[in-house]
């Protein structure tokens, strides 16, 4: 059996679903962040896979690299936000942080 596009996409979907699941179910903000990372990575897989099978040259890989860099930056900022949230609310439990409602 030859590994084709569908397999890559399947992996990507699994990662995406796990990411969503993590974001939605975890109470800890850090865990939520990790879910986001999973989603980003599933997107990366898609970029690379389409680049390989879609005859787009290396554009997919380049974008994937960008995304990785962005993810790093984003993680840094997000962690900083989490720290600040912790400072403000003394917790990182996202269920308790619902001031956006008001």
């Amino acid at each position: 059996m030859e590994v084709g596009l569908n397999h890559f996409l399947f992996v990507s979907v699994c990662l995406f679903s796990l990411g969503i699941f993590g974001i939605v179910t975890r109470k800890n903000a850090v865990m939520v962040l990790m879910g986001i990372e999973l989603i980003l990575n599933s997107a990366n897989i898609n970029f690379v896979a389409f680049a390989k099978y879609g005859n787009f040259g290396y554009q997919g890989q380049i974008v994937a690299l960008f995304v990785i860099i962005l993810a790093a930056a984003e993680a840094a900022i997000a962690l900083a936000i989490v720290l600040n949230i912790y400072k403000t609310f003394s917790t990182v439990n996202v269920d308790e942080i619902d001031t956006m409602k008001d």
């Binding site: 969503i20 939605v24 179910t25 939520v32 942080i97 619902d98 956006m100 409602k101």
Partner: protein
């Protein structure tokens, strides 16, 4: 020596009094003796008018000289100011200037000490100016202009003692009643102008003689004549507008003599004399009827009046009625003759009454006089002469002129079968003699009834008596004719006054005024105007003969019987006056009681004032009150009402705006608020909920759009 010199003199005579008026009025306060200037001016004017009369009657007895300048020109229409000097005008100006001068002199003493002394003389000046204007004018518009100006001066002089309410009332009444007549006069002018596009007498006469008449209808020519005559009804105080003249006696007595007896009131007669050529038989008949009524009604009133001036006032109306009636029956020359003689003797009577009033310290009630002939011999003598004249006693001027008029009515009766005018004429002659002698007897004869006033009375000073003497002298026959029983022999009627050329269409004239084809040359009456260069138009009309031979002969036949009858009636009148008041053989009071209704009617002046007050005056004032009320409440009410309605409407729309329109706006806001309230339930504030929603939505969207 040409006609132009006459015009020059006439112009000077005309404008001198205006100068006097202006100077006197402006210097009245500053120069105490300025009244002497005014008097001097009038004396000069009188001298000039004597010269004018002399020149005119001697050198140009048949000419009519006119001169005109354009006053306003408007396209093809030119309104001229012009002067016309003919025999009638110069005779009239002589009368006006003389009486005006005498009244000035008389007033110097009579008005002495009045606080508006100088102003009084100024007013006399403006009056004389206006009156001269009426006399000299050559067109009907100017006639109207000066007509109104004499009205003004009459108003000012009647109301001269305006502190008295009765005086200011009388002035107002005179002006307004005159305006009633003037409305007719002005309407007549409107018709004439609309038809002929000119105001000049000559030109109008000429056109009528060519057959151009208003609205192409003889009826309208008659109407025009009557309308113009309305002016005379007002100014000459004819029935039914005579009511102002007795009230006008509120003015100073010399004014009554000048304006309300001799000159201004005669202007109405003068006007009819001027427009006589255009009067149709219908108009003449109307004029005669008005004249007859005016002669009769006031005469009956005069019998019972007790104010010396009121008696004279009513007799003036009555005598003016005579003149007007004379014109109406065609006795043109005698009407003018009577105008002149009446002016003199009536002025004498009024000034005489002024002298009496002066002597009696402004007492005018004859019941408080009596026996004054001893105290005022000269006044008495002149008064008596004038009374004889007005009563038509031989050797006086009044006898001549009145007799002529009566003969005219007699002839008229003979020719037309209408004896009404003759009847009225003779009846009034009787009444006149009676009430005039009643006046003389009550004033001068018998015993004094107010001893105190009588004792203080003394003859007036020279400047007051002299005019009386002059005027009384002029009431003697000799100035007019050498034969005291036939006026036609004198120059006045045979040479100076000429019958006019009648221009109305033949079939609208009285038969006896139709031109006599058989007699192309002048007949006995010496009729036609001899054309001069400036008055050719009137004379070229081709109508040479005016009064037919028939009428002249009828007059001659009527002369003797009329004279006899009038003498007889005057005698009876005088006799009864003596029986009642001098010899007391008959008791006037008892008679008055017996015929009480008639007596009351006469005493209350036939209730004319009351009737007018109750009808015209009340009606006008009533209408004006009603209209003012309507104006303030209904018309203005509509305006204010529409404002109120607008305000109500706007407050309604304001409410509507607040409740409905704004309600909808607010409602929309509430609605969105409500919906928002519902949807904010979704807003948990939890990031994870949002993400679930996003993902679900995405999935749904994917399913929805998967077909694409």
């Amino acid at each position: 020596m040409t006609g132009n010199n006459l015009i020059d003199i006439a112009l000077i005579i005309l404008f001198l009094p205006l100068l006097g008026f202006t100077v006197t009025l402006f210097l009245a306060k500053k120069v105490k003796k300025i009244y002497l200037f005014e008097t001097l001016i009038i004396i000069v004017a009188f001298v000039l008018s004597v010269i004018l009369v002399f020149l005119k009657l001697n050198y140009f007895p048949n000419a009519t000289t006119t001169s005109e300048v354009s006053w306003i020109s408007l396209g093809s229409i030119s309104i001229d100011l012009g002067i016309m000097v003919d025999n009638i005008a110069v005779l009239m100006i002589f009368v006006v200037s003389l009486i005006s001068m005498l009244v000035h002199l008389f007033s110097i003493a009579y008005m002495h000490g009045d606080k508006r002394y100088n102003r009084y003389f100024a007013y006399l000046g403006i009056f004389t100016f206006s009156m001269n204007g009426i006399v000299f004018t050559h067109n009907i518009l100017m006639m109207y202009i000066f007509w109104e100006l004499v009205g003004l001066s009459s108003y000012l002089l009647i109301g001269f003692w305006y502190e008295k309410k009765s005086a200011s009332d009388a002035g107002k009444k005179a002006f307004i009643v005159n305006r009633v007549g003037d409305l007719g006069f002005f309407s007549g002018i409107l018709i004439l102008f609309a038809t002929y596009h000119t105001f000049t007498f000559d030109k109008i006469f000429h056109q009528i003689s060519l057959g151009v008449i208003p609205f192409n209808s003889e009826f309208w020519l008659t109407v025009t004549g009557i309308l113009i005559f309305c002016g005379a009804i007002g100014k000459s105080a004819q029935f039914p507008l005579h009511v102002w003249l007795p009230d006008a006696m509120e003015g100073p007595t010399p004014v009554s003599a000048l304006i309300h007896a001799a000159t201004m009131v005669a202007a109405g007669v003068y006007l009819v004399v001027r427009v006589f050529p255009i009067l149709t038989s219908g108009a003449l008949e109307f004029i005669a009827i008005i004249g007859a009524l005016s002669a009769f009604i006031p005469a009956t009133i005069a019998i019972t009046q007790n104010d010396i001036k009121k008696v004279l006032a009513y007799s003036t109306v009555s005598q003016l009625g005579y003149m007007v009636m004379a014109l109406g029956v065609g006795a043109y020359k005698f009407a003018f003759f009577h105008l002149v003689t009446h002016a003199f003797f009536k002025a004498a009577l009024f000034l005489g009454s002024g002298s009496v009033i002066h002597a009696m310290h402004h007492e005018q009630d004859i019941r408080k006089m009596g026996g004054l002939r001893k105290k005022l011999p000269l006044t008495y003598a002149t008064f008596l002469i004038s009374t004889l004249a007005i009563s038509g006693v031989p050797l006086t001027s009044g006898f001549l002129s009145k007799d002529g008029i009566l003969a005219g009515t007699f002839a008229f009766g003979n020719l037309t079968g209408q004896w009404f005018f003759a009847f009225v004429g003779f009846l009034v002659a009787l009444v006149t003699a009676f009430y005039m002698f009643r006046l003389v007897i009550l004033t001068f004869h018998g015993e004094p009834r107010d001893k105190e006033k009588y004792d203080h009375a003394k003859e007036s000073p020279f400047v007051m008596v002299m005019p009386l003497v002059v005027l009384a002298t002029l009431s003697i026959f000799i100035w007019y004719t050498p034969n005291p029983f036939n006026p036609e022999q004198g120059a006045f009627l045979s040479k100076w006054v000429k019958a006019p050329t009648i221009v109305t269409p033949q079939d609208s004239r009285y038969s006896f005024l139709k031109s006599d084809e058989a007699q192309p040359e002048a007949n006995v009456q010496g009729i036609q105007n001899v054309p001069t260069p400036s008055s050719t138009e009137a004379a070229n009309s081709g109508e040479e003969i005016t009064f037919s031979k028939t009428y002249t002969e009828a007059m001659e036949h009527a002369h003797i019987p009329a004279m006899m009858l009038s003498l007889f009636l005057a005698g009876i009148g005088i006799l009864f006056a003596f029986l009642f008041y001098q010899w007391k053989k008959l008791d006037a009071d008892k008679l008055a009681e017996k015929i009480n209704p008639l007596y009351k009617l006469s005493l209350n002046k036939w209730y004319f004032d009351e009737i007018y007050d109750a009808t015209f005056v009340a009606l006008t004032l009533g209408i004006s009150k009603v209209l003012a009320w309507i104006d303030a409440n209904i018309i203005d009410g509509i305006v204010n009402g529409s404002a109120t309605v607008t305000k109500m409407f706007s407050s309604f729309t304001g409410k509507f705006d607040n409740v409905v329109v704004d309600g909808m706006v607010n409602g929309a806001a509430y609605m969105s608020g409500f919906i928002g309230l519902m949807f904010r339930k979704l807003q948990t504030g939890k990031v994870q909920t949002y993400i679930v929603l996003v993902v679900f939505s995405l999935v749904i969207l994917l399913f929805l759009f998967k077909s694409f």
